[in-house]
Amino acid sequence: MKNKQDKTRKRNLIWRYSFATLLIIFGIVLSYFNMSNEFLGFSSVSLWLIYVGFVMLTVITLQMLFKKERIVDERMEFIASKASRVTFIGIILFAFLIMIIDGIKPIEIAYSYFMSYLICGIVLLYIVSYKILSNKY
């Protein structure tokens, strides 16, 4: 059981390191070919990709060095799945609400701000629902 967990952890680590490296490589390639100035409507993508890649590498390395062994049991998985479902329903309801509000009065908020708020909202909703459900189950 422990051996299987170790294998999974190792595999996850390799995947995370590969993804971070891929981000950096992608950022360097975009920067080298000067494609980053206007990429899908975003500017300076390459620098951000390199930055995020390096932050990811640092976080993964720090986690690997200092993280204590955490137990994830079946109850936590059960609560997490329920919290995910609640969050998903929340997103659907929120999208519906946004559509109605946008129909009444057009939303003039910048797309990047909107996405940032949305992601913060999703994370917050997940955490709150997880905390409430962990008191219930």
């Binding site: 049991d73 109850r75 936590m76």
Partner: protein
């Protein structure tokens, strides 16, 4: 679900933390199991029964 985890645990003189470590779950899980708030899987019920040195799962867990 009604459980006798607390009863057998006290009989063996072990803490929730120790039992949690024995079966590979968190202390909170043992707490909610004792309170009967959470229904464990068959595997976890089996592990707890074994850790509490009981023979049958029905001795520890009872459906209300």
């Amino acid at each position: 679900m009604k459980t006798k985890i607390a009863f057998y645990r006290k009989k063996l003189n072990i803490t929730q933390e120790e039992l949690a470590e024995l079966v590979g779950v968190t202390r909170q899980t043992i707490l909610v199991l004792e309170q009967g708030k959470y229904n464990p899987s068959l595997l976890l019920a089996y592990k707890i029964t074994n850790a509490l040195k009981q023979k049958k799962i029905e001795d520890v867990f009872k459906i209300k």
